[in-house]
């Protein structure tokens, strides 16, 4: 089962900080609900896991993430993730993420994500019809975590003033200017996917779609 995603998320974070976060794979993984990097195998290769909890069912995917390409000039990152869980499912994802500056507001940027996700086994069989919606929800949670974490980073030289951004962020109470350098980025998020929240959001979007609203 293959799902292709192409999403743009406007963020109230300047492009430099967003890119700084994107290049720290460990921190990025921390923004993915339930995901975690456990080991660095090489310069571009990591071992990690994702734990998905929906109701009483827990699926634990273990696998690898490889950085295929990281182009600083274009603020472009290409990743390939592969994993399997013990319950008979496997998944792989090719992800291209690009940070583009918002021309009208230097304190803002846009996170562009293109992903091709292939899922096999039980996940594909049971979850097939929900894949797109679930992926949307996961990404939305990821982006929110990404935004909050990016806002905790120090404003880098040459980037736009951070004042406006900080004022809208609820997580900005941890002073952004005093934050530690990149390797110590601490994701400010829960470690597990909140299954109930996903379910609720899915239900809302489904009911919405019944009445012609685009989710």
């Amino acid at each position: 089962m293959e799902v292709k995603l192409d999403k743009q998320y406007p963020l109230d974070v300047d492009a430099a900080r967003a890119w700084a976060l994107l290049t720290d794979l460990k921190a990025v993984a921390g923004c993915m609900p339930g995901a975690e990097i456990t080991e660095q195998i090489s310069e571009t290769s990591y071992k990690g896991g994702v734990k998905v909890k929906v109701g009483p069912a827990v699926a634990q995917f273990g696998g690898t993430v490889d950085v295929i390409e990281a182009v600083a000039d274009e603020r472009k990152m290409v990743l390939r993730g592969k994993g399997a869980d013990k319950g008979g499912s496997s998944a792989s994802m090719d992800l291209t993420a690009i940070i583009t500056a918002d021309p009208t507001n230097p304190a803002h940027c846009v996170l562009n994500g293109q992903a091709a996700v292939i899922v096999n086994g039980k996940f594909a069989q049971f979850g097939g019809r929900m894949m797109v919606q679930v992926s949307d929800m996961l990404l939305a949670q990821f982006v929110e975590n990404f935004r909050q974490t990016a806002l905790t980073l120090p404003v880098l030289a040459g980037s736009a003033q951070a004042g406006a951004a900080a004022s809208v962020s609820s997580a900005a109470s941890t002073s952004s200017t005093a934050a530690a350098p990149a390797p110590a980025i601490a994701p400010v998020v829960a470690r597990e996917i909140n299954g109930l929240a996903i379910f609720w959001a899915l239900l809302k979007s489904w009911v919405g779609s019944l009445f012609g609203k685009r989710a």
Partner: protein
């Protein structure tokens, strides 16, 4: 000693023999929940097995780590192909002359393929341990389309067959090619097309579906290490064949192998084959010396046990301008999945597909079927039909409709024009079948009158003339002939065993009886109907006749129940065994009445002295005498065994008509009327026949309107739960009207032809015929199944008919 005088009619009624709508003897225990299915069987010390299955459709196994699973308390063993290798049981032969992996040997070929087994104290521990077995795969490119599989550069599915250019059915042309099977006369068919005034052709896909019986497959294997014998309770439609195969595979003498098919919750072809789960449970029991139970769940059943159909078909008809068919050509690409595990008689890799000339007198015909490997589960069984007959009937009935449309002829008229006429029977078809008997025109007229066909066509014309009509109306008509009762052992065998069947009858001293059979009921009601045959043949009330099947240690050897063969083959064995007893009984009665055998008449339940009604002996009197004081020189007892090898198949037929109304806004199809006339020759229990027809029509409705096994590009099966896989309930099932004519088979001792599968075979093309008919005025000649609302709605949009 003689009972009060009763008329012969009254006595006959009391027997509840052939022709009586006797209530099913089986039902008392089923409706009380007292059936005894495989999963009901519990044995002391019994362990439970579960199977680790592949999540991917094609890949290499890099590593299997059992440690975590073995560490779970209550786990007794985890076995993989490596463990079966020393026993040479990691591969097994299939019924189709191929081999299939019992447990994946280095490579997985389809999603949900068996990779390892876990044996544990209970089912729950086993399921937990399955998740603890860690397997690393290297994914390989997946081939799902059989046409793509035959391309030169296609991935190799069966590496174990590398270099094997000769298969079980002739030359293999490609690494994913299994066989090409031809029937008929190609030159004659080609000549008919060269001379034809009109030709039509149509491509159609008969989707992969699954029989999906209510009870899934499973077994309880119990090897006794002291006695050295093996008893296995198993969900099998052919327990005797299983015994032979188990003996051959395990090396245990057949006399020490006992296979029991207890109550079976539906088979429909799904329970003919031998599955890895059975083999593994038996091996586990032998290794551990304890009983081992394996029962698959629904997802495993739909995903890995035998599917049906999956035929990509191209049909062509040649005809005269006035609609007389002169030639038929058929080309099929058959998707067999990863192993060729079709259940067909050995010499027929495409089963009886060559019944594809149908009920029509077609002088020249040729069919070619190409079997192909893909990354899907193996199977290709007869889902409630005789071997591949459903596919054949679908093709010819669709083609006749397509031809009628091209010639602007009515579909009833073109059929009548091409029928094999009543006086042409016995009729040899262009494919070499000898049709035993038939009267198609009488049956067709009966149906057209019953439904007021002309009135329906007038109504349809009026609806078509109204642009605001909310529905499209379609009328489907099918006039099919089946070939069942396999089969004559000179041409039909399974693993070398001829496809006869058998019956043993013992009359007890007090006049009751037991009959044991080589077949096995799975809902057909054998315990009821078989007793009725004996009742009529021997004059014993069916109520006191016990019928037992399914235990290979007590029943005579038989090939089992599938392909509508129980009545045509085993039913004949019953009649002939009974007639052996009858002949002996006559001798005893003559002795008792002190007359010559020739001076006796048989009447319902007794031998009478000719011309003197007061002098008679009933069968019960004779039975007592047979055990008490048989005539001098005669062996005591009253019993017989008969093995019946049919001289020919039987050819039941039917005329089905269906009216549908398709909602132009939603694409939903409402079956307004379905009229099914069946001719199965002599009718043994009309009530059971009607029940069988209702069941077959409902399963036909399921296939035509909703059943399918969709795969995504990676080979994930997206329809393996009952949430996705359509199993109609009373809510969805339309009302059925049934009717019959009786054209007995001349070669069958009872004249009976078999019936349970006709309604499935015949109804499926009837639904398609009706749905396509609704679109025919828009130039549509064919729509593939399933005719679910979404697909039909898309067709409405495509042809500008949607509201």
């Amino acid at each position: 000693m003689n009972a009060p005088v009763q008329t012969a009619e009254a006595r006959e009624l009391a027997l509840a023999g052939m022709g009586a709508s006797r209530l099913r003897k089986e039902d008392a225990r089923f409706i009380q929940g007292k059936g005894n299915y495989v999963d009901d069987i519990k044995m002391p010390g019994m362990l439970h097995m579960d199977i680790v299955r592949s999540p991917i459709a094609h890949g290499r196994i890099l590593k299997i780590n059992k440690e975590a699973a073995l560490a779970i308390p209550g786990v007794h063993a985890v076995l993989t192909a490596e463990d079966l290798k020393p026993l040479k049981l990691h591969w097994m032969p299939t019924l189709a002359g191929d081999v299939a992996a019992v447990l994946a040997d280095g490579k997985v070929h389809f999603q949900m393929q068996e990779v390892a087994i876990v044996i544990a104290d209970d089912r729950y521990i086993a399921a937990d341990a399955v998740e603890a077995v860690e397997i690393e795969y290297e994914e390989l490119p997946v081939v799902l389309d059989p046409y793509a599989a035959l391309q030169p550069g296609a991935p190799v599915i069966r590496e174990d067959l590398a270099g094997k250019t000769e298969g079980a059915h002739g030359k293999r042309e490609h690494h994913n090619h299994i066989f090409t099977w031809d029937a008929g006369d190609k030159a004659a068919a080609d000549a008919a097309f060269d001379k034809a005034e009109v030709t039509v052709s149509q491509h159609m896909y008969y989707p992969r579906v699954h029989p999906c019986p209510l009870e899934t497959c499973g077994c309880v294997a119990s090897f006794d290490p002291v006695r050295g014998d093996l008893t296995t309770y198993i969900t099998s439609q052919a327990p005797h064949v299983v015994r032979t195969v188990v003996s051959m595979l395990s090396g245990i003498p057949e006399s020490k192998v006992r296979i029991v098919s207890p109550d079976i919750g539906g088979g429909f072809g799904n329970k003919v084959g031998i599955y890895p789960g059975y083999v593994c449970a038996i091996v586990a029991s032998i290794v551990l010396g304890r009983p081992v139970k394996w029962v698959e769940d629904r997802i495993e059943n739909i995903s890995s046990t035998a599917f049906a159909r999956d035929y990509h078909m191209d049909g062509e008809l040649a005809a005269t301008a006035d609609g007389k068919i002169t030639g038929l050509r058929v080309n099929v690409v058959a998707d067999h999945g990863a192993f060729d595990a079709c259940a067909d008689p050995t010499k027929f890799p495409a089963g009886m597909f060559h019944i594809v000339s149908g009920s029509y007198d077609i002088p020249a015909a040729h069919a070619s079927v190409k079997g192909v490997y893909t990354n899907k589960a193996p199977g290709g069984v007869s889902y409630r039909c005789s071997f591949r007959v459903t596919e054949a009937v679908y093709l010819i009935e669709r083609m006749v409709d397509v031809l009628a449309q091209k010639l602007n002829m009515d579909k009833a008229e073109i059929r009548a024009k091409n029928f094999i006429k009543k006086e042409q029977f016995p009729y040899r078809s262009a494919f070499g079948f000898d049709f035993d008997s038939g009267d198609y025109q009488t049956a067709l007229d009966k149906v057209l009158d019953a439904v007021d066909y002309k009135g329906l066509r007038a109504e349809q014309a009026a609806k078509r003339a109204d642009p605001n009509s909310p529905t499209l109306m379609g009328i489907g008509l099918v006039t099919f002939t089946e070939v069942v009762g396999a089969g004559p052992s000179k041409i039909c065998d399974i693993l070398g065993v001829g496809m006869f069947d058998s019956c043993e009858i013992r009359i007890h001293p007090t006049g009751s009886a037991i009959a044991r059979m080589g077949t096995i009921t799975q809902g057909q009601g054998h315990q009821t109907t078989y007793a009725q045959i004996i009742a009529t043949e021997l004059g014993i009330p069916s109520e006191v006749i016990q019928v037992e099947e399914g235990d290979t240690s007590t029943a005579p050897y038989g090939l089992g129940t599938y392909g509508s063969r129980s009545t045509p083959v085993a039913g004949a064995a019953i009649a002939l065994a009974a007639r052996k007893i009858h002949a002996k009984a006559r001798k005893i009665a003559a002795h008792m009445l002190e007359v010559n055998e020739n001076d006796l008449d048989w009447e319902v339940d007794r031998f009478k002295v000719k011309g003197d009604d007061s002098k008679y002996k009933t069968m019960a009197d004779v039975a007592w005498q047979a055990y008490h004081q048989p005539p001098e020189g005669m062996e005591p007892g009253l019993e017989a065994v008969h093995y019946y090898d049919p001289p020919n198949f039987t050819f039941p037929f039917g005329i089905y008509l269906c009216v549908v109304d398709i909602d132009r806004a939603t694409g939903e199809t409402k079956v307004r009327r379905f009229y099914a006339l069946d001719d199965c020759g002599t009718r043994i229990n009309p009530m059971i026949i009607e029940g069988q027809i209702h069941g077959g029509l409902t399963e036909g409705f399921a296939v035509a309107m909703g059943q399918q096994m969709p795969f995504d590009a990676q080979g994930n099966l997206l329809g393996n739960t009952l949430m996705d896989y359509f199993l109609p309930t009373f809510v969805e099932t339309p009302h059925w009207e049934t009717d019959h004519t009786v054209t007995p088979s001349p070669h069958h001792p009872l004249g009976a032809k078999g019936v349970a599968e006709s309604p499935h075979v015949g109804s499926i093309p009837t639904f398609t015929s009706a749905v396509v008919d609704a679109f025919s005025h828009l130039g549509v000649t064919h729509l593939d199944m399933p005719h679910n609302a979404f697909r039909t709605w898309k067709a409405l949009r495509e042809h500008g008919a949607a509201l």
